[in-house]
Subunit: 272 residues, 6 copies
Amino acid sequence: MPEPRFDVTALGEMLLRFSVPSGKRLETATNLDVCPAGAEVNVLTLLARLERRTCWMGALPDNPLGKLAVSALRLAGADTSGVIWNAGGRMGTYYVEFGEPPRGIQVTYDRAHWCAAQLHVDEIDWDSLLGTRLLHLTGITPALFPSCREIIIEAVRRAAERGVRVSFDINYRRKLWSETEARETLSPLIQGVELLFCNQTDARRVFNCTGTMQEIAQGMLERSQARNIIVTFAEQGAMLWNGKELRHEPARPTGIIASLTVWAQATRWRPA
Amino acid sequence: MPEPRFDVTALGEMLLRFSVPSGKRLETATNLDVCPAGAEVNVLTLLARLERRTCWMGALPDNPLGKLAVSALRLAGADTSGVIWNAGGRMGTYYVEFGEPPRGIQVTYDRAHWCAAQLHVDEIDWDSLLGTRLLHLTGITPALFPSCREIIIEAVRRAAERGVRVSFDINYRRKLWSETEARETLSPLIQGVELLFCNQTDARRVFNCTGTMQEIAQGMLERSQARNIIVTFAEQGAMLWNGKELRHEPARPTGIIASLTVWAQATRWRPA
Amino acid sequence: MPEPRFDVTALGEMLLRFSVPSGKRLETATNLDVCPAGAEVNVLTLLARLERRTCWMGALPDNPLGKLAVSALRLAGADTSGVIWNAGGRMGTYYVEFGEPPRGIQVTYDRAHWCAAQLHVDEIDWDSLLGTRLLHLTGITPALFPSCREIIIEAVRRAAERGVRVSFDINYRRKLWSETEARETLSPLIQGVELLFCNQTDARRVFNCTGTMQEIAQGMLERSQARNIIVTFAEQGAMLWNGKELRHEPARPTGIIASLTVWAQATRWRPA
Amino acid sequence: MPEPRFDVTALGEMLLRFSVPSGKRLETATNLDVCPAGAEVNVLTLLARLERRTCWMGALPDNPLGKLAVSALRLAGADTSGVIWNAGGRMGTYYVEFGEPPRGIQVTYDRAHWCAAQLHVDEIDWDSLLGTRLLHLTGITPALFPSCREIIIEAVRRAAERGVRVSFDINYRRKLWSETEARETLSPLIQGVELLFCNQTDARRVFNCTGTMQEIAQGMLERSQARNIIVTFAEQGAMLWNGKELRHEPARPTGIIASLTVWAQATRWRPA
Amino acid sequence: MPEPRFDVTALGEMLLRFSVPSGKRLETATNLDVCPAGAEVNVLTLLARLERRTCWMGALPDNPLGKLAVSALRLAGADTSGVIWNAGGRMGTYYVEFGEPPRGIQVTYDRAHWCAAQLHVDEIDWDSLLGTRLLHLTGITPALFPSCREIIIEAVRRAAERGVRVSFDINYRRKLWSETEARETLSPLIQGVELLFCNQTDARRVFNCTGTMQEIAQGMLERSQARNIIVTFAEQGAMLWNGKELRHEPARPTGIIASLTVWAQATRWRPA
Amino acid sequence: MPEPRFDVTALGEMLLRFSVPSGKRLETATNLDVCPAGAEVNVLTLLARLERRTCWMGALPDNPLGKLAVSALRLAGADTSGVIWNAGGRMGTYYVEFGEPPRGIQVTYDRAHWCAAQLHVDEIDWDSLLGTRLLHLTGITPALFPSCREIIIEAVRRAAERGVRVSFDINYRRKLWSETEARETLSPLIQGVELLFCNQTDARRVFNCTGTMQEIAQGMLERSQARNIIVTFAEQGAMLWNGKELRHEPARPTGIIASLTVWAQATRWRPA
């Protein structure tokens, strides 16, 4: 079998984030910072900066806003040949105002008519998608639209068929679906994946895993039969568990970066 | 009859314009200028700066983007008590990249699910709307959505009933409707209005008025029975014609401001 | 009696604050941020954002700097019809450099020939000023100039005559007058007001109120016969005392905003 | 006689210019550019960049705004040891809004209580002032305040006494004084100066010099007995006339810089 | 023969351009814009935006400045796998101040110890370089350093051997070498290339081609035996001549973009 | 003996520091802040702001980058007549990216061909250099290049000869030389200086001084026979020791400024 073209390929969605300069209010703003965003994209661009060969696949509108989203991938060095250009749909956007206490952060979503909803399973170039050492998916995509769910189910099925390893980040979003619907949808998708990422809260609320850190990781292992479980415990760091070996990675002062650090280790650590 | 609360009230729509700083490309932008926009709003805010009492009525989403739109009115001193807050709709937006030759200006509209489409005729507070010396309307609003058209028809009918003078700016938009549809819709609306604004191109293309400047103005007068016709002729200036008196206002170096200058004169000149 | 036009009207003064971008020095600045400021204006603009109907009355120079001051009121949605335009006076200004420790904040005032000094009692439109549910005044205004003091005295007298409730914020400024002069001037002005705001330090130093929090509030109540006393105790929060009911509002992490929060509650709580 | 410490020393006044970023309005500005300005300072800083040894003498308030003014001199390399620090006075300021046509430039002066008015003739360190090859003065200073006029008269008298050459730029300002007052004040001051600068309009309006370019220069020569006359004729360039030699310097595309260019030549050209 | 991986690959050099914001002076700058630059890079990034598959090969220092240069290629979508990372050399830089008339543009080069000088012929991955439909070279590279010249000579030799078409832009730089040295070095390199770009001035001064536009193109054809000659004539546009067919492309208002437009056509036009 | 022209003169080197705006990465920067830097310059400019008469002597390239370096001195009011303009050398530069944790600060030096290396001992104007109350030197300069070391040795020798007091800041830089080489070079230079500055770490690692704060200061005194020793102990403050009198200056919250504060005291405190 030839060496796959990419180390990590992700299938997911992108939005544009408009944010008000710190200390200003959105309701009187005169200029906004703009930045492409998305759970899978964040992972890919950081891995690309660590010199992994990465590729993003998903739908974007065929207009300058879609190209702006692509620019973020390009700048990081991620491959963009898998973008599926959509003729009529909208770019999903959201607006952020970073509050100073006692005012909190304020987020206004604007996802109506998002082109992500219009992507269909037969638009995916499966050969391209699966030409990778690892396929990365998240629990956000199947929560967005029925067509997205269908695509993720098919992606997992085909990856298994071809022997492509899958990485799955649960990433449960309360605003998008219920815990029950998430558990029923995600459970079959995560069976036997190479890497399963989950934070402590989602493990408890979606998969009813409780107890010590190791018990939670073991609970996720039993429910998924995944080869490697990575559970993040906020400021207590991240834990890797594969049924035999238990590794703990302490959280860095910037907790947000912790799981990515674990990730980089996990992909560096090649399974036998 | 008591003195009306406002000099000029307009009923129309607002969008947010996002523009790339001059010389930059939208597809690689990192920040955008944002500015509320709309044909009626431009007129009202300039009149407010000239110390006219003005009021805007229209639908805006009840979120920070809607409040951002309102800020532009407030800053100019226009009244915003007529805003109809919409719970679920989107703020209409568009993106502008100012090209340097040979590249032209590039505009990307994002008007899907615009809350303007959701405004219904029975949401209008007619007493508020008509408490004005002059009601200003444009040909853009009836072109947007059927519900908008219905509102404008009702506004014209009620203004006539109450004896409130109407100002109407044809402002034909080719991308929104055909010339035939525009003519058939607008003709009944402009009958007997106090002020009718039209540019030379729209007079020819929508109303088949050709000939000299005076012949065009006379053609518009015959088709509308308006009390005063103001036709703008780009760099040749603007002409006011009321069947008896003919006045010509030369264009200023900045042609865009010309019609507003004429407007200020026209409202200063009180009909007997 | 008809419903008054405004919820809160304030009579006071505005300045323009020029501040150096953080980390820069004023003596080598190349650009400055500019922002209208004033004790009464801060209260009014925040209340306007909370959708109270507010109005500001005071003198401003009839030039672009005066209009710049007015813009801040407009943007917040406060009414500006009570501005008294002054033909020859200056806009008061001050310059701020935010120091990084060990360097402290540095303020340079430039209030010579301020138009506030030129406002006379017979320029006030009393009907306008008193068409409000609550008249808000501060102890800064009578400290500025004799003419200002005369205006505040007359405002308090007329409000009592018409039954308009008064809110008074002691706001003692050491650089403007002595404690003795402040006490002698302010004591008659605060008799029987609806709301009396005072911080712990001013209560002690101007009115000799000491002891526990409740004792200080009681001391202010005895000296003023105000209906409601609000004393702020920095990080210990604010206390409301009306002789019967005692309420304590803890300070938020940003203490500066605490008294405004109390205020919003106090005006929400309608006296019988 | 020892070599003087400076090539050119000027005695005059400085203001701070606050300007709105191009395309913005002062009445809604949120930040302003700030730049020290003054007729004499402009000459000195440009000469300093051309590596002449220059020194400025005048009054500035002893606060950060005065130091900001001094920074402009320092940055250009001009000497600032002649600054007379004033304890109580104001920094003169003015506000500029650069209009786009049809709106013109708008200037708002704020010179009340300017410390320039408080400088007295006995505060001048005459030895310092006259330790120069050339003393540069303008017609603005004597027009400002009586005390300024007295200082300029004394400076001219002492320069003559010591044999220090004087350069004088008429620079008539209509807003400050009448043509008659200017002529009567300036005529004795310019007698026999080394360099006399004047533009065509001031030559005509203040000194009644008309005719061809050479006739105007000759008229100024007769009225002043100056060693060298430099008259600027806007886009027709500048003319140097000393009674024998006539030199013409064409205007550069940027007319504003023309007279400074001539100046640099004139000071390079050493009188016998 | 398999389809080559790229449409256009270029071998050349990059610098970082630091420029002062317009209207400011470098000698008092507080911030600078930074932008990667290079004759070959400009061509590649524009072609990449036109969706050609492009690749750049050259040496860059293995530090953040080298990565900054690479970012410009990535952002445009050009391939960067051919970058040869240099451990010890410097990034070449230059500083630009855009003058306002009468001051001209001012460029300060800082190319000492440039890593471009350290690249040797045996560091080139020839298989990668030649996996392209068209190899683009310029006359700047052989002018820089002897090692660069050797690389270009070898590249042309190997391209001919493999049948890879070559595009060559004369781009004579007077500051780098003499006309004689340029002619003697470049003449053998351009023999039989697919596309030869040259401007009128270089054709005359380096290759002694004079006369009408067609005569100049014919002169270049005779001297190079190139398949296609493109000569640019500034505001008179560009001419394509292949010995049989003569095509003229008028200059666009922005002359700088003209040759790139021609280029896009030339590569669209596939030789038989 | 006449009063020297300056209070403090320093002989040293300057670089330009380019820094990425906080939160951005150098590898994707589009603009950079630029600021002249250098150990001696930092001391001089701060002393100049405290109204000491200061002068800097050193080599700078005779181009706009050298003039940019000089601007920082001028703006602070330091004298720049001692700059030795170098015709061919480079301006030393370095690039800084301020990291957010867990990413640290990243510095990229670009000092190849620095003009500092080309300065020779016979280019120094010794009369100018020594016309000062105090000559300030640091241990960085002799570490840079052999020619620099030779200059510092000569400066110390001549200062002793003329009776000019010397201030010496050890400022050991590990990247430039070994501890042994530093000790052997610096020991003769610091014998009998007026002021010797050293931090605790350098005292230990270069001069093997350990123990209590006072023991370390005493160790430095014994090794240098300096009149006054100032040792800085990071957050524990600075200590002045002259063999008789011991003074301790606590560290301010901003430790970096501590030694400068001590310095200002030390120079205010005149030795008998």
